[in-house]
């Protein structure tokens, strides 16, 4: 059995930034494990631009964003094991991995950072009736086929779900000569970023059918078409609105699920809303010394926030490795109030914050054109902020100063988001 100070599982943007930050903060013995043959994670197949606007103030493509971090990692001599998959993690931080080159490996780590990313929801997760022909792919799988393997999934395409991957693929497949007939979205609003609606659909006159869904799939060997229908407010298909659309390919872009089999094995508590571990102010899970960041924690739309979160985890792990048992620490619970789906981190120990600022990431329940975010504690209001054009698909990032959290007797923090103009607050 090998001994290591810090093991990072996953070499996507989260794992890369966490490793670099831990090293910068004094951790010398780091091992990064990645199951793929390359570093970079999902960014390798995201060849479109739009990455890094916040961090580099540039619009990079996924591979470019990844390569900057990979180069930095290499220049710091951080050890990497590729084509190695972690298959077991215990609460005692014992790791079992299998590798093409090294066979079965057992490692005892003092600290672990989980950065395994997420996987796509498939047809099973959304229950579409009909036959089970070939030609149905998740949008991310299609992205891999086209951008890495270099072949097309089909010619006549319908996309179910308006998540960003679906929108990006609508443009990509059109550029490659396919006919994307429409994007079908069950909600009355899109789940994608506005820039993707404009540049991926409107640019190519691809219709976005809101409040519509696929109710049937036709075809025996290969998919031949789908029946779509309009849905009512409770998302039930409205009889009489059915329409048949022929196609040879159906792409599903219906959401992502954090990849947490290993976390569960280690006995880490999972937040039922985010699907990822419950974490504290330094991205530490409910098992001491195991940290998590990126899409394994909650699904991100911007890689910049993944990087920020990973840097926090890297700093947190370094702090933990320096002094494993903190002397005194208060646990402040973060309460998700009205208007919000979740807030992360879920627990704060103000005394143990790794910097003088704390980022909170959250998502709204519904789109609001003007909303007031209010943060209160048992002592009263800590902060209010007016937000413009809030959408569930665009993550909200709020920063609180350490002073604001160091109030005496603080027991909980409650975040609420209300549409402005409903007589709430001081307006």
């Amino acid at each position: 059995m090998e001994n290591r100070d810090l093991v990072i599982i996953g070499g996507g943007p989260a794992g890369l930034a966490a490793a670099i930050e831990a090293k910068k903060n004094g951790v010398e013995d780091i091992l990064l494990i990645e199951r793929d043959s390359h570093l970079g994670g999902v960014l390798q197949q995201c060849i479109h631009n739009g990455f890094g606007l916040h961090i580099f103030k540039e619009e990079l493509t996924g591979p470019e964003y990844a390569e900057r971090f990979i180069n930095e990692l290499k220049s710091m001599n951080i050890e990497v094991m590729l084509e190695t998959m972690v298959i077991e993690l215990t609460s005692q931080k014992k790791i079992t991995a299998v590798s093409k080159k090294y066979g079965l490996i057992e490692i005892q780590a003092r600290a672990v950072i989980l950065a395994m990313g997420c996987r796509e929801r498939t047809r099973g997760a959304i229950n579409i009736p009909g036959t089970r022909p070939a030609g149905i792919f998740t949008a991310g799988t299609a992205q891999r086929y086209v951008n890495i393997e270099g072949f097309m999934p089909g010619k006549e395409i319908v996309i179910l779900g308006s998540g960003d991957i679906g929108l990006i693929m609508a443009r990509r497949l059109t550029l490659e000569g396919a006919h994307v007939k429409c994007v079908v979205e069950i909600m009355p609003y899109s789940n994608g970023l506005t820039r993707n609606i404009v540049q991926c659909l409107n640019d190519f006159d691809i219709p976005l059918l809101l409040s519509h869904t696929v109710i049937n799939i036709h075809g025996k060997k290969r998919i031949e078409g789908v029946t779509i229908a309009k849905v009512d407010e409770s998302l039930r298909p409205i009889p009489g609105t059915e329409r048949y659309i022929s196609c040879d390919t159906l792409l599903l872009s219906v959401g992502l699920i954090p990849e947490n089999e290993l976390s569960k094995m280690a006995g880490i508590k999972i937040d039922s809303v985010t699907g990822g571990p419950i974490v504290n102010q330094r991205m530490e899970t409910t098992v001491e010394g195991i940290f998590a960041c990126g899409n394994v924690c909650h699904v991100h739309d911007l890689v910049d926030f993944v990087t920020q979160e990973a840097q926090l985890a890297g700093k947190g792990a370094a702090q933990y490795l320096k002094s494993e048992k903190p002397s005194s620490q208060r646990m402040v619970k973060v309460d998700v109030g009205e208007g919000l789906r979740y807030v992360l981190p879920q627990i704060i120990s103000p005394e143990l914050m790794v910097s003088d600022k704390q980022n909170f990431f959250m998502r709204s329940i519904a789109p609001m054109s003007k909303a007031r975010l209010m943060i209160t504690s048992n002592n009263g209001v800590i902060k209010t902020q007016t937000l413009r054009f809030v959408k569930p698909s665009e993550m909200i990032n709020i920063v609180l100063k350490k002073e604001e959290l160091l109030e005496p007797n603080i027991e909980f923090l409650r975040f609420t988001l209300r549409e402005e103009g409903d007589g709430y607050g001081d307006e």
């Binding site: 060849i47 493509t61 591979p63 086209v146 270099g150 550029l175 490659e176 506005t194």
Partner: protein, 121 residues
């Protein structure tokens, strides 16, 4: 001749729906924007919309055909996107390639070069 075009602004998450009135192909009036940046964006969108093209070209790696991600160094006129895709269909590069290397010059006559988005050894 008068014409109205609607532009959804993507400068910020607000997503203003901006109305641009054209008279004889020239911008006569812009409304619905909240800020100056929106006005500039809408004007460019209507008169000369540009996009960065991202795609892949063929790369020969140890005798195997693989895909190298590439992009235009600058945005190119939107109406040249399809022409640019056609030109890149037959491009094949050989490693080593460094991120930022020019793999194709003056794509679709736009004056803009296509560069590698990834290094390949």
């Amino acid at each position: 001749m008068e014409m109205n075009k609607e532009v959804i602004c993507i400068v910020c998450p607000r997503g203003c729906h901006i109305d641009v009135k054209l008279v004889d192909g020239k911008v006569a009036n812009i409304s619905g924007n909240v800020c100056q940046r929106g006005k500039t964006y809408a004007e460019a969108e209507v008169t000369n919309p540009k996009r960065v093209l991202t795609t892949t070209v063929s790369i020969i790696d140890n005798g195997n055909q693989k895909r190298l991600p590439v992009r235009t160094k600058e945005p190119i006129p939107k109406n040249l996107l399809m022409k640019a895709m056609k030109e890149l269909k037959n491009v094949t590069v050989k490693p080593p390639v460094k991120m930022g290397d020019v793999v194709y010059k003056n794509i679709a006559g736009s004056g803009v070069d296509v560069i590698a988005s990834k290094s390949w050894e």
